[in-house]
Each structure stands twice: as C-alpha cells, then as structure tokens.
Amino acid sequence: MEAIRFNNNIIRREEILNMDTGSLRQRLPAINDFFSSFGLTAPEDGTTISHFLLELDAEILNDIGMEREAINEVFLDFIEGMLEIQKTSGFKLVELTIIGGRNKDGKSEELNLELRPSQIICLVGHTGSGKSRLLADIEWMARGDTPTGRRILINGDIPPSSWRHSHEHRLVAQLTQNMNFVMDVAVDEFVRLHAESRLVQNVEAKTNQILLKANDLAGEPFAPDTPVTSLSGGQSRALMIADIALLSASPIVLIDEIENAGIDRKRALELLIDEEKIVLIATHDPILALMGEKRLILRNGGVHKIINTTPVERRNLSKIEELDKNFLGLRNRIRNGELIDFEIGL
C-alpha cells in the first residue's frame, strides 16, 4: 500500500478518493483543472471523488477514452504530482559540479568546475564548439552516459535518475534570441498563468512584483494590459528575464546573448544573481563577458581553457561601459532626429 503525506498526515494513497472534495480543493485548487482537462465539471463540495467517478456515465468514459479505474489512478498520480511540486519548492541547489569527459577527438577534458548560486559564467566559442552540448549535459545531469562522457554532480552527489524525467527538477531555464511570446494574452494574465502553474500561494503579489521588475529593466515601460505579443524586443526580454528570475523553478539560467537594445543588461544580470541563479551566458559581448567571473573557452566539443576575469579586465569593464553609454547616446540622437556633426572624443 503506497502512503503519501497530506496535510501533515501520512495516509494511504487511496484515501484521497474518499475525502471530501471541498477540503481537497482547498488544499489544491488545481483539481478543477484536472477535471476540466477531461471535459468534466469538477465534483461539488460534500461529495467524494470515488463517488463522482462511480456516477460517471459509460458514454462519457468512452468519449474521454479511459476506463474508470484508469481515471482513479491518473487522479491519484495527479495529486501526488501536485504535492511533489509544492514540496520541491524546498529544493535548493548549492553546488553544481561539472567533471570533464572528452572532446570530439576523444581527448580527455581537464575539467572539475564547481559552480555556486549567484555566479555568472560565460561560454565562449565558435558555432559547433560544444556550447549546446555542455548545456545539454547539465540539463540531462550527465553521468558519463552522453557523447562527451561528462559527469554532473548536484550538491556534491549524483542526482537520482528519476530527476531526469521529472517536471519539478528541470535544472535549466533558457533564454535565447529566437524566443518569442506566442500566447495570445495580456502581460498580467500571462504572468498569472505561469504563477498558477508554479502553485504560488499569492499569485497577485507575485504578478505585481514581476511586472514591476520587468518595467524596471525595460527601456520603455509597458502596461499590464499590453498583449505579450505586442511587446518590443527589449520589453519582451525584460519580461522574460524578470519572470525567469522570480518565477522559474530552475536554479540555472542559460542565456544566449542579450541584445543591446531596450533593456538594461547589467541590471538584468544583477536581478538573476540577486535571485541566486547560476547564470551561464553564451556571449561575445565584452560587457557581458567581463561581468562574468569566468569564461569557459570551448573548442572541438570540449572546454579548452578557463579564463578567470582579471583585475585589469574588471577595471576595463567600467571603461567599456562608458563607451557603450556614449554609443547609446549616439543612437538616441539619431532616433530623436538630431545631428552627429560634432567632434567625437574617444
């Protein structure tokens, strides 16, 4: 008999079916979604799930394409899954270790890298040098069983293999230049949907917090009722980053460049760091690269070299930022219909 923990009591799994739907709903409002997914209206308060399923018409079952017992089981799996999501919000990544494997020629890769929350690591290399494979190794929690032979440790240990397929333990959140919003909803509704799927307790507060942050990062502010598909490139990136920082369950964030337009890139990275993400960023932009603690140089499918950002580089960062600011100033002059007919000092 499988036991599960519900409201601090250890109960038999099947007992869920004989609980009052009202009390179940109070704990997990998402059960309404479960029933609507099958085209059903959720049972009312005062009845039990098993009673509800017993009363279901055979014809309805035939339409759904499932037998009664199967729905019972799926419902219990669903409840367990939801409880699991609530529980794993307690999971904390404190250390990610990447142990080297071999490059495309089979040469061994000298690598034993420990990454901690709030670190920024840059990935540098040409197309095909192995950046994506490195990310895939982390995401899949490789244990010497991928083409690179790399191994990934979580908090010093080999993670359970069940994590590989679990919805709750997705390690990596991704943000690339190709990504767009496709949902046909307004910004606030969009964030709300995401918050609900994360089973956040106070959805309103979370939504407001993310909108505030996103507006803070975006060059031009946007209203909560703006459709996500009408946001500018910079606004979209700002919203995506604020959302990943504050709502995504994944402790590692992979970024493939951030365009230098319409978003404060420095503050964006700072937000991710404040939220204790490990940030891996594939970039050839000097500002982003020098903001990182380390640069992994990828070549021929392996990490060829690691550069620790030097004190001189750090000093240069502020100079490059100054250059960048001047350049942005020139852009703005063009946008505002002004001339650039003065002597430019470098």
């Binding site: 998402a30 979604d33 479960f34 609507s36 997914s37 099958f38 085209g39 035939n62 339409d63 759904i64 394409g65 499932m66 037998e67 199967a70 089981e73 799926v74 799996d77 669903f78 367990e80 899954g81 994506s132 895939a136 899949w140 069983d145 991928t146 083409p147 590989r164 397929h165 919805h167 997705r170 959140a173 991704q174 943000l175 690339t176 190709n178 990504m179 767009n180 919003f181 496709v182 949902m183 969009f190 964030v191 949907l193 995401h194 799927s197 994360r198 979209s236 995506m240 959302d243 990943i244 709502l247 995504s248 369950a249 994944s250």
Partner: protein
C-alpha cells in the same frame, strides 16, 4: 524486436524527432525501421529512405487512420522481424484528437509542440493521456514561462508520463530519447495484444458512403448536439 508507437498532431515534429533519434541509435549500431502511416499522401518515407532507413508507408485514404493502423500493424511487425530490425518505430498522425493508437505494454510516445496552444493538452484524448513518453517540441522559439506552463499542463493530464523536451532541428534531447527507446522491452509478437483504449467508433450511413444531408438519411450510430 522492440516496437515504439509514435503519434501526435500533424506538423508537431514527429518525423524530425524520429530522424534525430535514429541518428543517435545508429551510433550504437542499432538497426531501425519505420512504418509511416498517413491519410492521403506523405513524402516522409523518402526522408527516411534518404537516411538509409528501412521504411514502409501506409495511406489510409478514406478510412479512419486509427482503424487502418490497427489492421496493419501486425503485418508491419512481421516485416520488421523478417528484415532483422532491432527497433521498429510506427509513426502516425493523430487527426481527430480522439485517436488512440497505443498498445498495452508497447512503448508509446506522443509528440506535441509548444506552438499548438496552451489548451492543446486538454483537447487531446488517449493519444496524449495514455502515452508513456510525451515529447514536447519547438521549445527553442517560445519563452521559458510558456514552456513551463505547457509542460505543467501535460503533467496535469498525464501525470505518469515521462515528459521530454526535444528539439527536432538541433537534435537536443534526441540522444536521451534514443536511450529510452533502446531500454524499452522486447515485444515478442502483437497477436492477442490489446489497444490501451477503444478507438473512435462510428458505423453510420455516412461511413457507408451516404452524401445527402437530412434526418431520413441518418442511420446507425448517430449522436445529436444539445442545442
């Protein structure tokens, strides 16, 4: 021989995912064959052939594609055995959302894509809800939030499944999916095996070629809307 049933809505990326998986399986010297089921026409068999993969194609024409699938899969299985195939993959499009081509104790995969809309997991029946593995594609072009909401909704309707993200273009995730294929259990034969769930049924006058509209022409298994 292992058998994997792969199904999913049209254009969800089934063929691209299967091609990537085959590339990964071949590196382990696994011999793969594909049976491509479609309705009116398909050129995907050429795509497999150009990769040097053994392929058979079946077009259901005017018949229910699911019924066509189940009446032919056993013969396809024997073909695979004769060819000495290690893993036989059947690919079929789920066309009516009520499709249910999955067979008990035979590994089943449903491919759906992030662009199909957040309500799609609710809309698809047994093809998704009873699949062992759900492969979600086109994740590289939507936001992280949309990916998370989508996979959450898949989990809601099929909590027991293994959900994977595979990119049919770059092949990211295909390696991992290939491993699951290779780990599936050997299917001795299909005779006496059962579908996971009954297929969509009809058998009315229109199944038999009736074209006229009107009450008097509707015979057999007819259902009326509540208007």
């Amino acid at each position: 021989m292992r058998l994997i049933t792969v199904s999913g809505p049209p254009s969800s990326g089934k063929t691209a995912v299967i091609c990537r998986v085959i590339e990964a399986l071949r590196q382990q010297a696994v011999k793969v064959g594909v049976v491509k089921f479609d309705c009116l026409s398909t050129e995907d068999d050429e795509r497999y052939k150009s990769m040097g993969v053994l392929v058979r194609k079946g077009l259901s024409g005017a018949l229910c594609p699911d019924h066509f699938f189940v009446s032919n899969i056993e013969a396809c299985f024997h073909w695979g055995l004769d060819e000495g195939i290690d893993i036989l993959i059947s690919e079929s499009a789920g066309l009516c959302n009520r499709c249910s081509p999955h067979i008990k104790d035979v590994m089943s995969v449903c491919v759906i894509d992030n662009l199909s809309g957040q309500n799609t997991p609710k809309k698809i029946g047994p093809m998704l809800k009873s699949a062992d593995i759900v492969v979600i594609t086109k994740g590289d072009i939507v936001s992280q939030a949309e990916r998370e909401v989508f996979s959450f909704r898949v989990k809601n309707v099929n909590p027991r499944s293994t959900t994977m993200h595979v990119n049919g273009l770059t092949g990211q995730g295909a390696e991992e999916l290939a491993r699951l294929f290779a780990e599936s259990s050997d299917v001795g034969g299909l005779g006496e095996r059962q579908l996971r769930f009954a297929m969509p049924t009809a058998l009315c006058s229109y199944c038999l070629g009736e074209k006229r509209i009107g009450e008097e022409y509707q015979k057999g298994n007819i259902r009326k809307m509540d208007i």
